[in-house]
Symmetry: C2
Subunit: 230 residues, 2 copies
């Protein structure tokens, strides 16, 4: 797993004991729900998922996507109740941790505590970028940014080692991420496809030209240094 931090020998037994089991989830399953005060914290081992919030009248906003190595439920673990939900985009394998041992983690394994802060700060940077996109980019730019972003994330966690990448989302997901209607999203993605930047198949998106997407969105990509893997 390139770019991932190695655990020190002292940390390994703790990580193992902190872990309470594994969880499998099917496509479409809700892993964590808003308002719940779950006893667990998860690491995604494989698969794609997304976090979202909804307004009382049903309008949905996707906040970010989760790939292997990402944490689920840190907010809940640190602050209390979850204020967003998490849903699987593909079959998932999750590693389950005990939330009530957070204090022990910080006390006895400062390296892991730092990693949690690293992950939280990293999520914050992605959200900053998404906010810029929603607030100040046009529909075309937003769509291009989103696909390029997901492509880069997938590459950075070791998916798509060769060249071809298929992102397992529907146009409804794209619409709910970009803050657009599904009809307008379809027309926008069509334009990207006409320009040979992407291809849309069944319920997934194939990335054809990342550089083209990045240029269209005027986006430089994420700077990622080392990355912990809890």
């Amino acid at each position: 797993m390139p770019g991932f931090r190695e655990f020190s020998p002292a940390e390994l037994p703790f990580v193992a004991s902190f872990k309470t089991g594994e969880l499998l989830a099917d496509t479409g399953a809700t892993v964590l729900a808003e308002g719940v005060n779950s006893a667990h914290l998860y690491t995604l081992l494989s698969g794609w998922a997304f976090r979202y919030k909804t307004l009382p009248d049903g309008r949905r906003q996707i906040l970010n996507y989760l790939l292997p190595g990402d944490l689920l439920g840190l907010q809940g673990s640190v602050i209390g109740e979850m204020e967003h939900s998490v849903e699987a985009l593909s079959p998932l394998v999750l590693c389950v941790f005990q939330r009530n041992r957070m204090d022990e983690l910080f006390s006895n394994h400062p390296g892991l505590g730092f990693d949690l802060t690293w992950l939280a700060a990293s999520e914050e940077r992605m959200l900053d970028e998404h906010l810029l996109s929603l607030g100040r980019r046009t529909a075309m730019e937003r769509a291009a940014y989103l696909i390029a972003f997901l492509h880069q994330r997938a590459v950075s966690v070791g998916l798509s080692p060769t060249k071809q990448l298929f992102i397992p989302i529907t146009q409804q997901h794209v619409a709910d991420t970009l803050g657009l209607s599904i009809v307008h999203t379809n027309k926008t993605l069509r334009k990207l496809a006409d320009r040979q930047l992407i291809r849309w198949l069944d319920r997934s998106c194939e990335v054809l030209d990342v550089e083209g997407l990045m240029a269209l969105a005027d986006w430089d990509g994420l700077r990622e240094n080392r990355r912990p893997f809890i």
Copy 2:
């Protein structure tokens, strides 16, 4: 400072030694700039500020606002380079920390390490809420949410102990936060003022009816528990 965590006796000397000085900034000053790799981490002691990003062509998006108790530059400290800038909305007093002692902080003061994660997770929740707003709320709802949000934050850090609150922002700031043009922002704020929810004066906003704003935005407010004060 209601709701703030007390430091343990063991932590106090470290916090004092971690601190290298204080910094004053005037209204409009840039405290941290995108792309810089500053050697410092800051806590805001008093005043209002905001974080923002810009696109190469100048479009600006305000990401969040900073009030006393908030950290500036955590992303830079943990990951490296800053990817956003920070500007003062009022005269500021900042507490300056040495970024290169983060390891020592996590190793010797796990409570403080946890606090950093708490603050990062808390910022993440605010950004989630902003994202929902930009993506799925109408202009009126967004404006109502923003004012109610800033009101609640100000109250939660002990500003506005009586009832009256003046938020030191211009309509341009509101526009750049909500992802709207300045003209439309003006017309939207005018409607809020006509409904007696706010009053706009010179370059600040007086909140008249928080409940009314929250109802309009269909927003419940932030759940805040205890809060660290580094």
